[in-house]
Symmetry: C2
Subunit: 470 residues, 2 copies
């Protein structure tokens, strides 16, 4: 059992008195002083209404805003107006070109034969297209992704692969990484084994009829095949049908298209600091969303949380470091906004880069990859975040699609991890709507981010560089 | 506080000892003897697997089965095979003609203007059609059904009425009757006040993206207008948009059609009794379902529960009265199967008529309209059902669309009321799928129905006639 660095003194005293021999090694951590301005900002942020106003606004006034779409352009205009209205400085759009924009088409599927019925699914990003009239082919069923890996080369010729691995909720979201393989690379593997198309059980933890969208990728030299995610309920039904009729055929119609090029962009806003040499704090979320829902948890919430937290710093400043809030473009189909940001800002000094892109349920943990020079910053974070119910994780921070390209240049990170126990019920589905946001948990997020910004913005310590997390 | 007739003796003793003057009037009910065969059947039914097999089968092997469709015909064939396999006697289809079959078409809607985005909705049964290219008209918003009633005659000309009354869950389902008015008669009222179309907030207690289908009716002389239900999440979004843009327009496309005539039918199966003069016990659910889900709670469950309970009587017989299980056709669009049954069996003696059409959550209450001659039957039901957690209601039983026309002829009823607290989360939506059925609660339903059948089938008392419930 690892001693928690921020265990309060009363608990440590009790531990000492009652200690068994095995626990006798525990020692109290050094006392850490937190500036009263930090705790005051944290507690005020627990009453924040700015974040809910932002996520309500973008989901209501813009709605779905898929990558490279006119709606995403509208989201940029909306964000510029909102950030200016909130008083941020240097608010601007940094444009870039988005190539090979994947655009959803018709998407239908039906079971044929004795158990004929429609199925609900959605095409995966980068899916190939069927003929306009669809494909009619037998199903090759794989209960797990591993079973697909075991299928012999060429064994899927003339078939629609159906991979139905189930996903359980995890607080740290780690089941997405493992079970998500069926979506991330399943279509490429099925294609390379000769499949004409693939349908997967949605990568999600719900049991509903809303399929989970998401991007897949095909390796160079592999021709994209039609690829779609069935809703979990439909996948469970198809599993039962496959067991009744081993020869069952599906009729599958997916007609996505690819537009060669569209202009897109990142929205940037700043809280100017007093010491430009101390480096910029980069925070934000992504403005784009999948098209099935209205992008509340993914990632209106991230825009809302980071902008609201920065607003608390704006109103209490000036602070030492500049805080830059970015609404990244085109995260969902490949992190293009994050790459464009890193390219546009190469050579600038960043003190920190952190994003919010995991909904708005409570932050339960934080992790950093701070350098030895900034060790005390981590200790102050641990003490100041503990009253919000946030623990210090044992791992190394530095994750994120949007800030990833910036982190790769040696910039430190503080990851504030939201609970993922509910996230994959709604992620990338039609159900990602405003009502999934719990206003009280959203406020706890704003308080966590405000606390983190207040500590880092005024830290006298040097903040980098660091060895990037792999 | 009303004394519960089935209060156990120990509780009554304690009440007597501790009684305040106000409670001193309490008296113990007469002792009621329950045949050991009844309790044995009840307890065995708590381990039932037949019901789950049926509801899994019909939702998997047939799937959605809308009124008058080829899938509903397939459901009849499926039910005949299943009921024969279970050993029921006289299994047959009783055909009838279904006129003016409403068939769903395209259904899309978009907000136009500053907050442009798609909305999810579904056409209501009997909805009129828009032109194929849709209608583009301003919205007239009504926060409640009563506000629609208050709208002046002619005030809706050239507009799409939007009625957004919300529904809260109730255990007895009574909120459906009151809040459902927006669907049942809202379109007729909007049409009569000049509206070109109407969209309503779904009559449901969820907050999801799956709209709730359902039938509406237009009065003679009122031309049906296009009428649809928005998902609750979409209705909530449109309410926010209407407040931002009072001139907001919708583009609405609904293209349902009407087929003049199709053959349909009821599926009938029997457990023959030893005393034909004692009258038949009519039970069942409806075979048809709305097309968006696979008809698990509405009403695969009803077929499953009543057939499984009758199977327990079949295997333990013979019993005095014949039990007739009916899978009614075409309930959703007007109760046509129930009407056809009453017509086909006019003049026969029925001892009881009861249906299961409210999902498969726990039976929490029963109500009857038994005649004085059968008062003791009700007392036995109270005692035998109490261990299943079922209370005797203070109201009068005798509800149901399918058995309604038979009940109107003076046949008594025993209503076994399922809890409605969850039912309207899924009712008539894409989410009405097998995973909504809780196998343990389903077994409690089978035990309740088995107990009821065991008591009524062998009751020596005369069972009717009665004055029908209004």
């Amino acid at each position: 059992m690892k001693l928690r660095a921020f265990a309060p003194a009363t608990m440590l005293l009790a531990t000492t008195v009652l200690a068994t021999p095995a626990l006798a090694q525990r020692v109290a951590p050094p006392a850490v002083a937190i500036a009263p301005t930090v705790t005051a900002l944290r507690d005020a942020a627990l009453k924040d209404d700015v974040a809910y106003d932002i996520v309500s606004g973008i989901t209501t006034e813009v709605g779905p805003r898929p990558d490279g779409s006119p709606a995403e352009e509208r989201a940029r205009q909306w964000a510029v107006a909102k950030l200016n209205a909130l008083g941020f400085k240097n608010v601007r759009i940094e444009p870039y070109e988005l190539k090979n924009v994947w655009v959803r088409g018709v998407e239908t599927a039906e079971v044929l034969g004795s158990y004929a019925q429609p199925l609900r699914l959605t095409a995966l990003g980068n899916s190939g297209a069927t003929p306009a009239a669809g494909l009619t082919l037998p199903v090759a069923y794989f209960a797990s992704f591993n079973d697909l890996l075991l299928a012999p080369a060429g064994s899927l010729t003339g078939k629609i692969a159906f991979v139905s691995n189930a996903m359980q909720p995890t607080q740290d979201g780690s089941s997405y990484g493992s079970q998500g393989m069926a979506r991330f690379v399943g279509p490429n593997i099925a294609a390379s084994k000769g499949a004409s198309a693939i349908v997967i059980r949605s990568i999600g933890t719900d049991h509903g009829r809303g399929p989970h969208a998401g991007t897949t990728n095909f390796a160079p030299g592999v021709t994209p095949i039609p690829a779609a995610a069935l809703s979990v309920a439909d996948a469970e039904n198809l599993e039962r049908i496959v067991k009744l009729d081993k020869q069952v055929k599906l009729h599958l119609t997916l007609t996505p298209t690819v537009v060669p090029s569209r202009m897109s962009g990142n929205v940037v806003a700043e809280v100017p600091g007093t010491d430009p040499a101390a480096g910029t704090i980069l925070i934000g979320g992504h403005l784009d969303s999948w098209d099935l829902g209205t992008g509340a948890i993914d990632d209106g919430a991230g825009i809302a949380i980071t902008a609201a937290a920065a607003k608390h710093l704006l109103d209490s400043g000036p602070h030492r470091r500049t805080i830059r809030v970015v609404g990244f473009g085109d995260e969902e189909t490949g992190g293009f906004g994050g790459a464009a940001y890193a390219k546009a800002h190469a050579g600038e000094t960043h003190a920190l880069a952190s994003e919010s892109d995991f909904g708005a349920d409570r932050v339960w943990r934080f992790e950093t990859n701070l350098p030895e020079s900034a060790k005390a910053v981590g200790d102050r974070l641990a003490v100041a975040l503990a009253p919000l119910g946030i623990v210090r994780g044992a791992g190394v921070g530095g994750d994120g699609t949007d800030v990833g390209p910036t982190l790769k240049t040696g910039v430190p990170a503080v990851d504030l991890n939201q609970s993922g126990l509910r996230y994959f019920d709604y992620h990338h589905t039609p159900e990602d709507t405003l009502d999934r946001i719990d206003p009280e948990q959203l406020r706890q997020n704003v308080a966590a981010w405000t606390t983190m910004l207040a500590i880092v913005a005024d830290a006298p310590e040097a903040m980098g560089p660091v060895t990037p997390k792999k």
